[in-house]
């Protein structure tokens, strides 16, 4: 059930992402996706293997769902949010709605996996997850700004 669920929501995210207008250059999108994937999967390894703050299920289908969550669901959600931020940031209302939708989507993915016992929190709670997502979003946004400066300097972006 967890794999089906995770693949379904990932497919929804992918279809939605690729069918909406893009505000970031393809280079920025690639840069952000790779950065988010490496950083978030590293975070998951630290949390589950090093610190053991989350307890992972040992069932293989749960592990697959967990890997898909870390490698696709969270990076694509954050990437899409950063892309939409480029236009939403001009209005307080739009940016507030975007942030609320982003947090709701990430909480949904986390809730669905915990509900299906893919992983359980040990010495962790939702507020800590929220802090991690906010830091990751802001960090990725900052990295995107720096990369954009480089692209402009090279004449790839006007």
């Amino acid at each position: 059930m967890s794999i089906t669920m995770m693949i379904t929501i990932i497919m929804f995210m992918l279809i939605a992402y690729f069918s909406t207008k893009k505000y970031l250059h393809i280079f920025e999108q690639c840069f952000l996706f790779f950065l988010l994937l490496v950083c978030y999967t590293s975070f998951l390894s630290i949390i589950t293997v090093n610190l053991e703050l989350w307890k992972l299920s040992e069932k293989s289908q749960h592990l697959i769902a967990f890997r898909l969550y870390g490698m696709l669901f969270v990076p694509i959600t954050l990437l899409w949010a950063i892309d939409l931020w480029q236009t939403a940031k001009r209005s307080f209302y739009s940016s507030a709605v975007l942030i609320i939708c982003l947090i709701a989507t990430l909480f949904l993915g986390d809730f669905l996996l915990r509900n299906d016992e893919v992983y359980q929190y040990r010495q962790w709670n939702q507020w800590m997850s929220l802090i991690v997502w906010v830091i990751t979003f802001l960090g990725a946004l900052f990295a995107q700004k720096l990369f954009r400066i480089l692209l402009r300097k090279e004449g790839i972006l006007s």
Partner: protein, 166 residues
């Protein structure tokens, strides 16, 4: 508990990673500039991402086909080892672009570089960067064939979106 363990003893695998990083990054900066810095960053990130995907899937809990560095934990030097793939991908693409390798020569080029990649991986096993549990070097060969082909596809995607210089 340390979130990202630093090695207690700097032994042969840590020194191998440090030396390899030093030599490979100095090497790519000594090569004449053919690609913009943004493309170099994307290639390094792309290579690190592919390596991370495979390690997260195959070296993680339960499957555990191999381990990196000293333990099954995710160490600082595990993270640094992902930066090793970038220079090799850059040199691979540098030669591909410089000699405009096409047709059946491309097949030979990818096949030969995959052999070199497996050989380098075997050397990293000798220096305890990788410890194979249920994995063997020969299994890596088709993986490198796939990854290097994907690298060329990615390179062409980047080239397609570079502005044409008049």
């Amino acid at each position: 508990m340390n979130p990202l363990p630093f090695p207690v003893d700097f032994n042969i695998n840590e020194w191998f990673v440090i030396l390899s990083l030093g030599i490979s990054y100095i090497g790519i900066f000594l090569l004449p500039n053919r690609l913009p810095a943004s493309i170099l960053i994307l290639i390094i990130l792309f290579s690190a991402t592919i390596a991370r995907i495979f390690d997260h899937s195959l070296a993680g809990p339960n499957l555990n086909l191999y381990n990196l560095m000293d333990s099954g934990k995710y160490e600082l030097f595990d993270f640094l080892s992902y930066l090793l793939y970038g220079p090799f991908a850059y040199v691979f693409l540098y030669i591909y672009q410089k000699y405009s390798i096409k047709g059946l020569y491309l097949l030979l080029y990818i096949a030969a570089s995959s052999v070199l990649a497996v050989t380098y991986e075997w050397i990293t096993v000798l220096f305890n960067v990788f410890t194979f549990e249920k994995w063997r070097s020969i299994y890596s060969y088709p993986v490198y064939l796939f990854v290097q082909s994907l690298t060329i596809v990615f390179y062409h995607l980047l080239q397609k979106h570079l502005p044409v210089k008049s």
